[in-house]
Amino acid sequence: MIGELFIIFIGVVLVNNFVLVRFLGLCPYIGVSKDLKSAVGMGIAVIFVMTMASAVTWLIYYYFLAPGPHNVWFALFGDGVDPSAFDFTYLRTITFILIIAALVQLVEMVIIKTSPALYHALGIYLPLITTNCAVLGVAVLNIDIFFKGGEAVSWSLLKSLTQGFGAGVGFTLALILMASIRERLELADIPPALKGAPIAFLVGALMSMAFLGFTGLI
């Protein structure tokens, strides 16, 4: 079990890195990677939101959308009806994006109340995360991978959590590496036409090539 979770974690951090292999969360990757300090802040905020979002979207999907005896609507109104009639999986996209938007707002409010210092550090990054496609990406991916044929695989929730946490760590790793390289690029002599975004993408290409080396690790 632990081994399985470890493989999921390594897989999503190194082999299928969200930024460099799956191209999710590219906007902050290019936008917030100009200095190391904000990269770390953004990274921690993303890890936090992704882990939370993985758990919450999984629970909502399992209890409210997926058909089966565990469906809450079936338990309430399903007397004498076939459980497969309560299949709301087509509402997945619309539900998940609303949950994530609400979750980010909630996290922001809780952090303001409980820890002003933490809010000071993460605050400006939190609203950016709602439109970060990596968060919705990991929620959809969890459902795609850990629900085989509409039924949850064993330890499905824990696996989703691991994948969400790992995806956040992978994003942070890529972001911090990129920020460190870009701080050096400021001083480098690069052709004027490639300054800014183009060179960032070319660096991304080299990093992505390096991460290809992890293919076959698992």
């Binding site: 087509y90 959809v140 800014g196 070319l202 290409a205």
Partner: protein, 214 residues
């Protein structure tokens, strides 16, 4: 006026190459021309109809909750696209995979709803959505054809030069970063050349009257 709103999205304010929006799907699905066209069409559909609907209901939506409302509108059309692809084009659905539901968080679509459709009448919003969609599709098409030609020596799946061994790296993830990096560099170069030429012409115009005085 309407034509102007349409064409600005294609060249002057191209969402991908000028505004750097919607990069995730652009890089992810541009492994072949076929995928690029599929994603372009899906995103254009969502853009046009969400722009129309947002423009129609812009006066009913309370200001404070407008963003969640826009997201629901967009997600509705994305769900329609998802179901359509699942039913009629399962192969395309398979190869676009995760990126179909992710059209919801494509910053181009929410950006146009907020910046344009919520402030302009229906016909203009339609033109704007269509223009941005076509601009996005053309960018995808350009990237997709470059990567497919170099990476699998083919276009629309047909082999181009028999016996030529293509560079596999171009259809792998690094190829996407390489292609967009060099394309953006190329566009920046063209733009700076044009600015230089215009400055030279301005200087010549200023210099002329002074020379005439002598």
């Amino acid at each position: 006026m309407i034509i102007q709103e349409f064409t600005k999205g294609i060249f002057k304010r191209n969402p991908v190459f000028v505004l750097l929006l919607g990069l995730c799907p652009t890089l992810a699905v541009s492994t072949s021309v076929e995928n690029a066209i599929g994603m372009g069409a899906a995103a254009t559909f969502v853009l046009v109809f969400s722009n129309i609907l947002v423009s129609l209901i812009k006066n009913i939506i309370p200001k404070k909750i407008r963003i969640p409302c826009f997201i629901v509108v967009i997600a509705t059309f994305v769900t329609m696209v998802e179901l359509f692809l699942e039913a009629y084009l399962p192969d395309l659905n398979e190869s676009l995979g995760l990126y179909v539901p992710l059209i919801v968080v494509n910053c181009i679509i929410l950006g146009r709803a907020e910046a344009f459709a919520s402030r302009n009448p229906v016909m203009l919003s339609l033109a704007d959505g269509l223009g941005m969609g076509v601009g996005f599709s053309l960018a995808l098409l350009l990237l997709g054809s470059i990567r497919e030609i170099l990476g699998s020596n083919a276009l629309f799946g047909y082999e181009l030069i028999p016996g030529f061994r293509p560079a596999m790296i171009m259809i792998l993830p690094p190829g996407a970063f390489l292609t967009i990096g060099f394309l953006l560099g190329l566009f920046a170069l063209i733009r700076s050349r044009r600015v230089e030429r215009e400055e030279k012409m301005m200087n010549a115009e200023i210099a002329l009257p002074e020379g005439a005085k002598e």
